[in-house]
Assembly symmetry: C2
Homo-oligomer: 315 residues x 2
């Protein structure tokens, strides 16, 4: 890995942890974020150093971004980590333009920028949601790919656009299909939502769905371990990895742990549906042989990752 | 099937043959086309009858299309056949906005229209290009899906958006993954290109690539047979079918037959590359058990379909 790194969605949950890591590794980093979901405070540490340049702007304004990155004081960009996306799946279900613009067109725009600036390498944050509701163990080559949400659809559309670009101007791309990622700075997800609800009303917690949804959760720091390892150890034109541990966590477990930490004694009220919202996939199981073959496995079980996150958020 | 049918790309190659068939079946048809690749002359027969309404317009102008179709004199729209797309793969390789706008955003816009007008059923023209360069027999559930062209990428993006829509407002969708479709009114493809070249210079035919590309060709009338059969006989939320015969045809065969028909004696000059252009996939083999289980198989071999098309074009 050489050259400066350009991170889209740099002020977001995963993006800001990524920026911190890249800076720790001695890289120079240019981060772009429109601060719609991201927060400048997530970059507090990064902004204090000399090797980080933050651009508050729109990834889809390709001309402005290209202008800003061309002849940057950090030198030529060696790679892009494209994390900008709408992470609010439910908002995307209500308005089809959100995932189109924030999740897919940001990828299209990032590829245009890469072509304009001859940036050879791309790391992309994809998702388990591309697999839809397939009721089989999910390998990287499992199909058919019929996502159940607009979020998943626009991530799959992004993967497709990236794949085509590797035939043209992108030399190498890494596609990581994330499970539920948790940790400090998250702006969505069960832990975040439950904490917010309990702050409003510490006497009760209403859970969307019956609480039996059962999915793998991964701590953001372990996700980054996996991404950096695979980025270093694989070098095909398209390198695609499911990232997840083996274990999973029920929504019921999360509800009980959040209540125990944030509002002991609150009543938990479950719904009856097997999913929380349209496009929610109640359970899935990843086959992660590929990333494991490189030597990665999470140190924390899914439940432990949940516990650690609740602890970090309680601080 | 009840209600009027709305066809996007109605003046195009496949779209106009589809319109003719639907009218023969007694349906009322509203066709939209921007006449960028489509031609009004393809609809000559349709336009002469009382049950066809042609709209020259932009599928992506959702507000205008919705206004035009709401309370149409043909009554409520029962289904959409969405064929509008950029079919010029090489143009898409040169300008990334073409496939985005004409192939993917037309799907996004068609879905918006369907939601606005509560149209329950969608038939979509997808493509073998979504499979990229996978070197295995291609079943409908084969992955990973890494298209090699922007055309294939934006068709896969369309499939993804349609899949998500079936979780919301689309009751049923049929996705047909076309092979190379040939017949009168085509505006691209080897037969069309070779004929155009020989009209310019009847003494020689320059072939892109080494002529060994070997792919299944299907006559448009047999494609429509398959689509109507599957439309009638399958009724899941997402019904996805590879459509193709078993046999295939080399580019060399096509070159020789076109020369024999259009310019006997012309010299054929082959290139050295194993493909004609970026994103061209030199060969692929479909598994078509699924559409065959419904009772469809093409009457013509791939070579016979080529011969028939050359004959039809020579008339």
């Amino acid at each position: 890995m050489t050259g400066a790194v350009y991170v889209t969605g740099a002020a977001g949950f995963i993006g800001s942890h990524l920026v911190d890591r890249l800076l720790e590794q001695g890289r120079s980093v240019i981060g772009m974020d429109n601060l719609k979901l991201g927060r400048r405070s997530n970059l507090e540490k990064a902004l204090a150093g000399p090797r980080f340049d933050f651009i508050e702007g729109d990834v889809n304004d390709v001309a402005a971004a290209t202008e800003r990155l061309r002849r940057h004081r950090f030198g030529p960009i060696g790679e892009v980590w494209h994390l900008a996306a709408n992470s609010d799946i439910q908002a995307g279900a209500a308005d089809p333009e959100i995932d189109l613009r924030d999740t897919f067109l940001t990828t299209h725009s990032t590829l245009r920028l890469m072509e304009a600036l001859s940036i050879p390498a791309l790391v992309f944050a994809s998702t388990s949601a591309i697999y839809g509701e397939l009721d089989v163990p999910l390998r990287e080559d499992t199909g058919p790919l019929f996502p159940a949400s607009r979020y998943g659809a626009m991530k799959l559309a992004s993967e497709a656009a990236i794949a085509a670009a590797t035939q043209m101007f992108v030399e190498r791309a890494w596609i990581f299909r994330f499970p539920n990622v948790i940790g400090p700075r998250a702006t969505h997800g069960a832990i975040f939502d439950f904490m917010a609800k309990l702050r409003k009303d510490p006497s009760r917690l209403e859970v969307l769905g019956d609480g039996k949804q059962d999915k793998p959760y991964l701590h953001v720091q372990e996700l980054l371990d996996a991404m950096f390892l695979a980025r270093e150890k694989s070098g095909g034109a398209i390198n695609c990895f499911n990232v997840s541990g083996d274990s999973s966590t029920t929504v019921r477990y999360i509800a009980e742990r959040v209540v125990a930490s944030a509002a002991p004694g609150a009543r938990i009220l479950y719904g009856t549906a097997d999913r929380g919202w349209i496009g929610d996939v109640p359970r899935f199981r990843y086959v992660t042989d590929k990333i494991r073959a490189l030597g990665w496995r999470p140190k924390l079980s899914s439940n432990e990752a949940v516990d650690r996150t609740i602890g970090e958020l309680a601080r």
